[in-house]
Every structure is written in structure tokens, then in C-alpha cells.
Symmetry: C2
Subunit: 298 residues, 2 copies
């Protein structure tokens, strides 16, 4: 698959996802208008949309069009955005900059930021049940199941709880990866599974390779994030640089040092390549997405 065709596909996916977000969000001037303006502000802040790309790439792998997968991508973006807004709050990571812009509680206020997250989460489920596709009832229910499990206390929120409990503590690699498999990996897997369920050729036998891919991409994303956090200036990151170290959080870099973290990134990239071999068309666009994750500079 040439880089050129991936770039075209990626542009098309992002266009449709942004249209989809606009379609599903209540209008920004609808009552209560401050809440809706803040929801738009949070959701439309320019992100990498990795989860949307994973969803649509998994859909493509099993025969679904972008049109058939975009609602799943939108649901995932809404869920992911809620988690960012809540994570940035003062009682959590207390971050004032996200994607190069003031975080929601800075641009609005804390209560509004809390409510933005609280409202984006049910909207994600609403999109899955009400999507205008021919996905049958059983598959929609399966999607709600996957998203709810991945978002809950045994998934993303559980990872966040482990993260908070580990401030100032040491972790071995296994513990760190357990945390990231929940905190980031769970929603990456949900992205892949939601997208795959949109395709007619998806079967359970592909669930394990998809799960492994999501986990590895999650680790890769995190180790690269930790390396960048340690090495890049704030203006390149679009968020506060060096913050993990200041917050005394265990990261790949603080636990193992920069050189070993870079070696780990290479190992994870290699494992991801093996996993892709277990999927149809060697993972199709999922392979290009892996390159994006491991080669990104911010």
C-alpha cells in the first residue's frame, strides 16, 4: 500500500469524521449554550484522530466503507475527548494546555469542563445506537458492549485510577504496561473492534490479533509520548513539556532512562509488525497507522 494512497484515505476519513462530529453534536447555540459551546470547543480542538483512523482502517480491512464506519469513529472520538477533558481538570492532571490551546476548564470553568465530559460520554452511546447505517441490531449492541467495557473501571477509567495511585512510586515494566493497556490500550482496542464489526468479513478469530495490535500501538504511543515529553519543547508538543517528570509520574523514560525507552519503542514496533502479519492484507491501513505512531514527532 503506497504512502500516497494512505494519505488520500486518511484525508477522506478525517473529513468525514469532522462532518460526523458536527452532525452528532447539538448545535453550539442550543440551550444550554455555554455547555454546548464548550462541547464543540473540546471535540473540535485539532487532534491526531488516531482512534478514528484505527476504527476506519479496521472497518476497511473487513470490507466496510468509510461511510459505514465513520459513526463508530465519531463515538470513539467523543469518548476519548471526554476522557481528555476530565483528565486535564485540577483534581486530576491539572493541565492548562491541550492540543496547543487552553484546556476546557481554563477556557470555560471547572464545572463546565466536568459537565462537558459527562455529556460527551452518553452521546457516544447515542451515536452507536442511532447511526444511519445498515448495521444490524445485534452488532450495534455488541458495539455498545465493547465501548462500555473499554470505558469503564476495568478499562480506561481503571487505568486512570492506577495512574493516579502510582504518583511518586516505582513500577516495573509489567505494571507500567498493565496500566497503559487499560488507560490507552482499551480505547484503542475498542476503536479497532468497533470498526471491524462494521465489516461483513470480520470474525472472532481476528479479535486476538486486533487486541494485540491495539495493545502494542497503545504501548508504542505511550513510550513515544514519554520520550517526547522528556525531549521536546512545549510549543512543539502543544501541551506542557516535562510535566510527567515534574509530577513525579512513572513513565518509560523516568523508570528506564531515555536510551532504554528508545530501545523499547523499537521492540514494540517490531512486535507490532509481527501482529500485523496475522491480519488480512498484513493489516492494510493499520500498518500505516503503526508507522504514524512510531515515527511521530509530537
Amino acid at each position: 500500500m503506497s504512502l500516497n494512497s494512505f494519505d488520500q484515505w486518511k484525508t477522506e476519513v478525517l473529513t468525514q469524521v469532522h462532518q460526523g462530529l458536527d452532525q452528532w453534536l447539538p448545535k453550539a447555540d442550543q440551550v444550554p449554550a455555554t455547555l454546548h459551546r464548550a462541547m464543540h470547543y473540546a471535540v473540535k480542538s485539532p487532534g491526531k484522530r488516531i482512534r478514528s483512523l484505527i476504527a476506519c482502517a479496521a472497518g476497511d480491512l473487513f470490507g466496510a466503507s468509510i461511510e459505514g464506519t465513520v459513526h463508530s469513529a465519531v463515538a470513539i472520538e467523543l469518548m476519548h475527548t471526554y476522557s481528555l477533558v476530565h483528565d486535564d481538570l485540577p483534581c486530576m492532571d491539572n493541565d492548562e494546555l491541550r492540543r496547543g490551546k487552553p484546556t476546557v476548564h481554563v477556557a470555560f470553568d471547572e464545572a463546565t469542563a466536568m459537565l462537558v465530559g459527562d455529556a460527551l460520554q452518553p452521546l457516544a452511546f447515542s451515536v452507536l445506537v442511532n447511526q444511519q447505517t445498515n448495521l444490524d441490531h445485534e452488532l450495534r449492541l455488541k458495539q455498545v458492549h465493547v465501548l462500555s467495557e473499554s470505558a469503564g473501571s476495568l478499562g480506561m477509567v481503571g487505568g486512570q485510577a492506577i495512574d493516579l495511585s502510582q504518583v511518586g512510586m516505582s513500577m516495573n515494566r509489567r505494571e507500567l504496561e498493565l496500566m497503559h493497556s487499560k488507560k490507552t490500550g482499551a480505547l484503542f482496542f475498542a476503536s479497532a473492534e468497533l470498526g471491524a464489526l462494521c465489516g461483513t468479513t470480520y470474525s472472532e478469530s481476528f479479535q486476538e490479533p486486533l487486541r494485540a495490535y491495539a495493545r502494542q500501538i497503545g504501548f508504542g504511543f505511550q513510550v513515544v509520548d514519554d520520550i517526547l515529553d522528556a525531549c521536546s519543547p512545549t510549543e512543539v508538543l502543544g501541551k506542557s513539556a516535562g510535566k510527567d517528570q515534574r509530577d513525579n509520574k512513572p513513565t518509560y523514560v523516568t523508570l528506564f532512562g531515555l536510551d532504554r525507552a528508545k530501545e523499547m519503542a523499537s521492540e514494540i514496533a517490531k512486535n507490532t509488525k509481527s501482529t500485523l502479519g496475522l491480519l488480512p492484507r498484513e493489516g492494510g491501513y493499520l500498518s500505516d497507522i503503526a508507522e504514524l505512531v512510531f515515527d511521530r514527532v509530537y
Copy 2:
């Protein structure tokens, strides 16, 4: 229907709801254990379970057993509990006492309270899709739709946003009731609709009376709450008394005075009675629940 049979039925509902909550919550010692302990603490705090009663009463009205409706009640309780935990946080209502016990952020910490809410919400959806009943796929999807709409920015969270924006401001009765129809009424309606959908004899023609009942019970609940907040000592309420007035929040009592608020409660009770006449068996247990709401002392 004699009060005695309602009391027996109510006891059976509450027993099954509490068993259901235990069944669906992850074990309190499961990793991350602090989060799970806090989820148990929040959910099992002794509440009136009005929403569970509404769900099971609506189920009963259309031919569903308690066993067939209890999962819907559990989902609603999880959603309601998340909203209480978040509403009590310092950036929202900043309340330290709930149901006679320290609120979650006091008993644990703010970050944990935030995550408890964030995890209870997807669990509610998980219960609806995974319930062990013979509810068909289409009806489960309809339940997810109803719950997600009622919880979102046009429902409960929207009502909360309006509430926050009105601190120190005056509202007329229409505006106050719009706020409460979202803040409380939306989840009351979801309770009734989720329960009704469990019954085989429910049809769309009953949706309007159910919605009117939920709205009126919501107003009734609120006006009685406002009267009690103004008149009762903290030890009777189980939450901080007189707080609405100190917080400069518009309530039925602060806006219209105690006497007019009491008159309004009577008017709403009368309207509720008319609405019940539009339902089978004059509302069955829904009628007893209305009495509970209008006659309660805390």
C-alpha cells in the same frame, strides 16, 4: 391496591435491586481496588431508590415481572448515583454530606470521586446490553437510546448546566420547571420508559402519559425537596439543610415563598392524579410512588 401490597412489593423490588447492584458492580477488592471500593460506597449508600421503584412499577403495569425489570432499575441507579457523586464535588455543589454519610470526595478524594462517576456511567449501559432477560435486541437498543438521551446535554447534564448558570439569578416558574424537567425529570422518564419497555403490553400510546407522570413526579420531588431544605434540620435530611438558600440558588421556596411552594406541591399532586388516570390500572404502583413522593418527610 392496598398500601400493604405496595409495601410488600416495594420490599421485594429493593431486595432485588440491591442484589442486582452487587451482581453488576466489579468486586470491591478487584484492581483498581480503591476505585471499586469507592464505587460500592457510592452506590450502596442508603437511598430512597425512587427511580428503581418507578422502573419496576412501569414494568409491572405492562406485564413485566420484577425479575424482568430489575436490570433496568440497576442501570438507572448507576446513572443516578454517578450524577450525585459528580454534583457533590467542590467545583459543582460542594456538598459534604449525602444520604447521611460523607460524600465520595470527602470519604475518598476528588480524583476518585470523579472517576467513580466516570466509571458508573458506562456500567449503566453495559447492564442494559448484557442483562440476562429475554428482552429482544431492538428493545435493548431502544433502552440504550432512552438512557443516553436522558443523561446527555439535552437531558440531565443539560439541567445541571442550567442550574449552575442560574446561581444568584431569578427565574419564573416556567424556567424553573424547564430546568427541573431536564435535571430530575429526564431520568425519572427514563426510569418509567426503561421499565415499560420490559413489558409486552407497552405501546407508544402510553409514552405521553408516562412522560407527563415523570415530569410531574420530578417537579413534585423538587418542590418537596425545596420545602424540606428550607424547613428541616440536617440530621433529618441526611444532607446539609438550608444549603440552597446559602448558595443563592433559585428554588420553589426562595422564588415563591414557603406558602406558595406548598400550594404548588398540592397542584402538582392533583395533576399527577389526573395523569395516572390515563394509564392502565390507574397507574398501579406508580400511584403509590406518587404518594411516597408527595408525602415524604425527608
